[in-house]
């Protein structure tokens, strides 16, 4: 019985798992918000069916709203995929309504630990990276807690590391490739991975065009000059500098 937060984390990030280091611990630090929830989930049946079983060379990225990617990941685990939650935003503040709703995700992380452990996945099971596609949704306003977040290349393994484990292809499941994920996938493509989108059929993935200055010093200057859409704490539409925050 998983009763403590670290136990729950251990189920998603087992010591021996080769993708465990990338499991984000932030939301595991919050207790479940309610025992049973009516979650705002999309039907992930089609996603699960399209993903099929691991072929040894494919990794998946599920970028779906609320906890839907987690539900999809848990449904894929019995087929041999290792779900890797990458939710890296905080849940709420002491002040204000949070912009990104995380209650369902927290609940699913805690509730999913035991069924995931029961799958007894091998240490090198191919990864399914899980994201909330609503992570950048909403606009900050006074007394709204801006808990939007982005995924950066530093939040995931490099293309080199994926290839080291035999992964040469990444399949994306989601409506739109958001700019932050686009930066990650772009590096993977540069690193020699094949990117595909899966909807009704499998097609090559087209990535969004990013401003040339994303990830450069010019971006910091843009931020400094107030071009950042939300400088009250969040970062609006811009992909921030790599994984470090403001402190020195």
């Amino acid at each position: 019985m998983i009763t403590t937060i670290p136990d729950s984390y251990d189920a998603w990030a087992p010591v021996e798992g080769c993708w465990s280091p990338w499991v984000k611990p932030v939301l595991f630090t919050y207790p479940p918000t309610y025992a049973s929830a009516e979650m705002s989930l999309m039907d992930v049946g089609a996603t699960v069916a399209a993903a099929g079983t691991p072929d040894g060379i494919t990794a998946l990225v599920l970028d779906l709203p609320y906890a839907s990617a987690l539900v999809g990941g848990l449904a894929l685990a019995p087929r041999g995929w290792r779900p890797v939650p990458l939710y890296n935003g905080v849940s709420h503040g002491l002040v204000g309504r949070p912009l990104v709703q995380t209650g369902d995700i927290i609940n699913a992380l805690h509730a999913g630990g035991e069924p995931l452990r029961a799958c007894a996945l091998p240490a090198d099971a191919p990864p399914v990276f899980l994201l909330d596609s609503l992570r950048l949704t909403g606009r900050p306003a006074p007394l709204v807690f801006d808990n939007r977040w982005v995924v950066t290349p530093q939040d995931l393994p490099s293309a080199e590391r994926l290839r080291h484990h035999g992964i040469t292809r990444v399949r994306f499941f989601g409506d739109t490739v958001l700019p932050d994920l686009g930066a990650v996938l772009g590096r993977w493509r540069t690193g020699g991975l094949t990117l595909e989108r899966v909807s009704d059929v499998v097609v090559p993935l087209v990535l969004p065009t990013l401003p040339w200055w994303i990830g450069t010093w010019a971006e910091r200057v843009a931020v400094r000059w107030g071009l950042k859409r939300s400088s009250a704490g969040g970062f609006g539409g811009l992909v921030p500098e790599p994984s470090k925050g403001g402190h020195g």
């Binding site: 670290p6 984390y9 280091p21 503040g93």
Partner: protein, 413 residues
Amino acid sequence: MIAPVLAELPWRACSPPPPAVATQLRRQAIFACRKWDPQVGDVATISSGALVLTAEAWHELSDLTTAVAAETRALEAALLRRPELWRELGVPRALRRALATVLPGPAVRSWRFDWHFTTAGWRLSEVNADVPGGYNEAGGLGLLWQNHLPGTRTLGDPAARLARALAVQVPAGARVALVHATAYSDDRQVMEGLAAALAEVGLHGLPCAPDHLTWDAAGCQLAGEAVAACLRFTPGEWLPGLPRECAWRHLLGHARVLVGNPGSCLLVQSKRLPLLWDRLGVPCPTWRAHLPETRAVQAVAWRGDPDWILKPTWGRVGEGVVMQDRVLAAQDRRHVRWAHWWPGRAWVAQRRFVSVPWDGPDGPCHPCLGVYTLDGAVTGVFGRTVARPPINGQAVELGVLAEDAGGYQARGR
């Protein structure tokens, strides 16, 4: 030439722990120390070892830091009297205007001085005087490791010391705003750690964004209730990007609200500060003896010379630092071109030092010891290492301890 100081290294040999212990420590670091970013790319950022300083080395480092903190405080005071020099430090215009209007008020100063052991002894690379990070790791990792390394002692908990200092200056049960960029979980982890430390001394730490605060002459409110102190972790140079209605200038200092760190600390955080030493008339012998030679990029032929490194004036966590002793990455080449053709006040050139590697659990690596001070007194150490300098966002963080009076004996490797 290798200096005689190398005859004795300032640290003891490190022995890696059994794998089960290392795993346990990593989990404890994540959840007990709130180290929420244990992996950056392909790099695990929690070391599987701890650095044990000799007692003599810690005394020396502590004394040096105390001296340099006093000098830095004097430099800050001198700069406050010389606003005409602020532009030369690279302080943005909006901040200069705001700083000029800040009235003196209650403040605490928590700074971190980054030291490196080099072939010429201890060298200082910078002071993080605006919003130093690393509190959770500095207080927590050493404590975790001490239980596994008999004969060692911890070097302090800067968050606990900061909380105790606030408890002396504000009423019991007071509310303390912990102002940060809420979208960064690695900032939030620091806020959660500080809130816990404040709770230990009977204060209420409230993580919030700058725009959650409302200000007037009487003080500051958060959600309609007064706060007695504001600890700021939103970098000073980001503040001008905030909406005007935030009244962010009050975060730099307020007559009735205790702030930490006050905005004037940004003046001594600028990497261009050494360029003004001679004009400030403040003796700073420790700085002069331990900071590598620092010049304006216009004043020295740095380009292509591996003895010079390029540093951005407001760089943090090694961002933008270019070392020219290697093949430059595309981004480094862009920085070099930028500094060469449009130097302005955005860059400085600094002499490279040669750090002495530490034989860590995963092989030789280069430590940086960030020693915290609180209003001049040493409060703890934040340890980081990299396989190859400079220290940056992919540094591995580690506990730092000192051998105690009984002496420390490393287990055999």
